[in-house]
């Protein structure tokens, strides 16, 4: 029944809200903004203000290498649960998660490779990638 399906925009907004809450729950820090965009069988997530206060203190004290190591380890630690969350919401298997963060801007970017395009009410609105 397509009537029960969310639209692409609704699914993207739901993902953004859940990911924002997920970061808050796991890292004790609420990102200021999370945007999600489907394209083909991939999902791009951009998290603004994703760096915790503890990491910010390290950066402010000139301990950039340590802060980057902490961030990389935090990303690795939360990834299995993040994968599960995305699979639950999209009802599609996650094949791969690519993630990177910039301490200077506080921005995290995630590209999620899905096994297939998620089912939405308006699938024609999910852009196809160009290659």
């Amino acid at each position: 029944m397509t009537d029960n399906l969310l639209t692409r925009g609704q699914l993207e907004r739901k993902l953004s809200q859940k990911i924002q809450a997920f970061y808050n729950r796991n890292l004790g820090h609420q990102p200021s903004k999370v945007t999600s965009q489907f394209f083909d069988a991939k999902l791009a997530v951009i998290i603004e203000d994703s760096i915790t206060n503890a990491e910010q203190i390290l950066v402010d004290e000139g301990q950039n290498d340590l802060a980057e190591k902490v961030r990389s380890n935090l990303d690795d630690a939360i990834q299995p649960e993040l994968k599960q969350l995305i699979e639950e919401i999209t009802q599609v298997k996650v094949v791969d998660i690519l993630s990177d963060a910039t301490l200077d801007t506080g921005r995290t970017g995630i590209i999620v490779v899905l096994s297939k395009t998620p089912k939405v009410r308006n699938p024609e609105n999910i852009p196809k990638v160009k290659s």
Binding site: Q37, F39, D40, K42, A44, I46, V95, D96, L98, S99, D100, A101, T102, T105, R107, T108, G109, I111, V113, P127, V129, K130, S131
Partner: protein
């Protein structure tokens, strides 16, 4: 096709060619595929087949940690060049460039965030 579509197609083709050239010139390595999607002031790029033969050999011989170190260094050299190519071709300033590679799946993903939306695209 209108002018905008033609311009986008030209940009996409140029981006693909130049990014593939970087891998070929610096690593003597041929990428399988380059794909991208532009959203407002964000460009998302996925590169398939980025892992070189030596890295694969390391991985296949239980030296995944070393392969990851090699990849980190390779990406630190290649990615600033890709960032330059994006700025040059799209005539934008990249304020953030986020990228990651997974050796197992042989895929690199990058998100370039621009200061402003590119003109005429």
């Amino acid at each position: 096709m209108n002018n905008k579509v033609i311009r986008i197609k030209k940009i996409e083709s140029l981006l693909s060619r130049k990014i593939k050239d970087v891998y070929r010139d610096r690593l003597d390595h041929k990428l399988d595929n380059v794909s991208y999607k532009l959203f407002d002031r964000t460009l998302i790029i996925t590169l398939d087949g980025t892992i070189t033969s030596p890295e694969k050999l390391l991985k296949d011989n239980d030296r995944l940690d070393l392969a990851k170190q090699v990849r980190e260094t390779i990406d630190s050299i290649i990615h600033p060049r890709i960032q330059d190519i994006i700025e040059e071709i799209l005539d934008v300033k990249v304020v953030d460039y986020l990228s990651d590679t997974t050796i197992d799946n042989d895929i690199t993903g990058a998100i370039a965030v621009f200061e402003f939306k590119p003109k005429d695209i």
